[in-house]
Symmetry: C2
Subunit: 450 residues, 2 copies
């Protein structure tokens, strides 16, 4: 059942395009879901793409468009006129249509909208384009089925019949009053199991979770995940029902957020993928490497102050990587734990003092174990006791300080609405490298002068 795109398949497919072997192409495409056709389209040349797309029905093409990667899609659009593109839009839900338009130049956008035959759809799209794409208004679709609180089951079924083509996956009908204010919902199951004359007001559930258009997409996703909701109605400030959000959109937000956090931790900026162009990859990685490099050079300059000490005790240099690596590891551990606890919405807000106290204790235990091992190793290798003590004491302070820095930084970033995951990336390791060096040489300076 699961389709995997291989290079053998691709070669065969492309040669079928070249020889215009329509029978083969159609039989292959017929067996595939639109989601499986997407990677094929992505790999093809632009002219080949157009050839394949004209073999598919409009619904499949519009599904492919709404899930294609932005650049590929915009490339394909260059082969079509706005009128031709508008035809595919007739098959789209308003939210997917608005998403696609959001990534197009304004002129093309307006031309496409002007050519959409379905007047209701173009009105809906225009409304959705007014919202930021990362708020509930930008996530929602206008298509939904609603019934009036004063109607009965029969009237509702008639209404479903009228509206039904708009909504593919449907299991609940929103209930509104005469002013379109959201009052609750009634499940399709209840409709099926009730008599025609039953009043909606008797069977509807008034207790419904809704959100306002201006709420941020991560909040929306959080709420849907927390309360296990498959769809959620969106209301405006007057409480009027204006749209609905489905779980698949929330899921995309959650997946994207996780990817962003991982990229922040890894020091890769922007939405970049391994198979992007070299230039894009360099641009997303180099700035972070330069930050790290800056830290390294600063460290070099700092150590220059201690050149005399290094000449006297060259063995001091041996433990520099140990000190910096430990500081970095501890910092990343601490910050990632805080980042996760910030992300867990239902976590109980502990006082910062209580948090730091536990951080301190954990650091203390970890530091004690590591310092003991290191001290034994240094002596075992035959270095003087004094060096062992210097390294151990420095390491101890590094673990404790790096824990505290790793804990506080994401909290501060979060306060300023910056993604706290940045605190687990190159910033913290660079900072902790410098912190480690400073502690090490200061401790050495004090102890060796005794």
């Amino acid at each position: 059942m699961k389709f995997e795109l291989t290079s053998e398949f691709l070669i065969q497919f492309q040669s079928a395009i070249e020889t215009q072997d329509i029978d083969y192409l159609k039989s292959v495409l017929n067996d595939l879901y639109s989601e499986d056709i997407i990677p094929i389209i992505t790999e093809l040349e632009n002219v080949e793409r157009k050839y394949v797309l004209q073999l598919l029905d409009n619904e499949t093409v519009s599904r492919i468009f709404s899930n294609l990667e932005v650049n590929t899609r915009n490339e394909i659009f260059t082969l079509y006129s706005p009128t031709e593109i508008a035809v595919f839009f007739n098959e789209l839900y308003s939210d997917d249509a608005a998403d696609i338009l959001n990534y197009l130049p304004i002129k093309l956008r307006e031309e496409i909208i002007a050519n959409i035959k379905d007047v209701e759809l173009s009105v809906n799209i225009n409304e959705l384009l007014r919202y930021d794409s990362d708020c509930a208004g930008g996530m929602m679709a206008k298509e939904l089925i609603k019934t009036n609180l004063n109607w009965n089951v029969k009237q509702t079924i008639d209404e479903v019949r009228k509206q039904a083509e708009n909504v593919e996956k449907l299991y609940s009908i929103y209930v509104v009053d005469d002013n379109d204010v959201l009052k609750g919902r009634v499940s399709l199951k209840k409709i099926i199991l009730s008599k025609d004359k039953t009043a909606i007001s008797e069977i509807y559930e008034p207790d419904i979770i809704s959100i306002e258009t201006y709420m941020e997409s991560w909040e929306v996703s959080e709420i849907m995940q927390k309360y296990d909701l498959e769809t959620m109605p969106v209301v405006n400030v007057q409480g009027k029902l204006v749209g609905r959000i489905t779980i698949d959109d929330a899921l995309d937000v959650i997946t994207e957020q996780a990817a962003e956090d991982i990229q922040a931790m890894a020091g890769v900026s922007a939405k970049v993928e391994e198979d992007d162009s070299v230039w894009k990859l360099v641009r997303s990685r180099l700035p972070w490497l330069i930050i790290g490099m800056g830290g390294g050079l600063l460290g070099a300059a700092f150590m220059g102050l201690f050149e005399q000490k290094l000449i006297l005790i060259p063995a001091m240099a041996f433990f520099i990587p140990l000190i910096t690596a430990t500081g970095g590891n501890v910092g990343v551990q601490s910050s990632s734990l805080i980042v996760q606890s910030l992300a867990a919405s239902d976590a109980f807000e502990e006082s910062i003092f209580k948090r730091l106290w536990r951080v301190f204790i954990v650091a203390f235990v970890n530091a004690a174990v590591i310092c003991t091992i290191v001290l034994l190793f240094v002596l075992l290798i035959g270095h003087p006791l004094k060096l062992g003590i210097v390294v151990s004491i420095a390491l101890f302070f590094v673990v404790v300080l790096a824990s505290i820095v790793g804990t506080i930084t994401p909290l501060i970033l979060d306060k300023f609405n910056i993604n706290p995951a940045l605190a687990s990336g190159p910033f913290i390791t660079t900072f902790n490298d410098l912190l480690g060096l400073a502690v090490y040489f200061l401790v050495a300076g004090m102890l060796f002068n005794l």
Copy 2:
């Protein structure tokens, strides 16, 4: 609408428990969804928990149980007899019930099952407990609504009426043949819009995505996300319909996977949270710190071989943090990009050669920029040209090698079915630290001896 648990609220709530202010407690609890009661229950003393739970109806309690953190739940269970616990189980779906039982000692598990009044439920639970919790069989619920291919709409509605109490969120009915083999599905919408006499065989959709019981949970989640499915039927090897999986379960798998990846990258093992006990935190962090420490000590031993060189040119030591930090940063960047591309299921499988070539080019460009800056800096600071050249050349090789190591390691881990995200953690930074030191001192050894 959104409830936030504050310490003021908690104090007030706990004092209401102490004074047995049932009116206050009931009014507060009535306004809350079960998902909001969970953090309150978590923060209470065990005896207080029981007091609060007995104020709630069985359905709410069972919802709370199925979403509570395992330790808290098992703690609460110690206050109840198996018979009392079984009462709550009658309100649960089979999959949630099996999940809870999976975390209990076998004896208690058997006692609870023996006391469940609903015979069908206990049979279902016993079946589910046979499956691994991280495969489709372990994720699925037995509750579903199905109809026979040979029936008509009227018969189907009657069947829905019979089975309906089992399924809360329902928008599609599975269609099976006389042998219970899955044949397709029919949407509730179609049922509502069709005449009573219409044959199911005329209106059902035969094209349905299903999965086998043995498929792994991450595959299940991937498929549901890719094809935008809210529920998916599960079949056994004979194609018989045995259960269904809902998107909320897939969502949990995806969220957990992301959390695991981040912990692997941060060097925190096991499912640990910032507010866990000190001992648990130490246990999950110390092993990774010891790996890093081992690397640091190995590095120290290695540098011991170059003591004479360090005495002659102590400034060499200044650039050790620069070398190791750059290697670490580059390695983490490279591996995280590979990890993400491995996670993107629809990514086209490029040849390893093509991948490495692009990695090499990106590394080359990054290295060139960094080396130029570093060379200028070293000269500016007044170090000899030779040292600048050594540092730059070493840095160049470190960037290129760390990129390659960072790219290959997750691919190898993935081949052996180990979470590739581990490659972005302390392992890679430790390894690259050592790699960087080796390159640095070898280059220095060669050039300074000229």
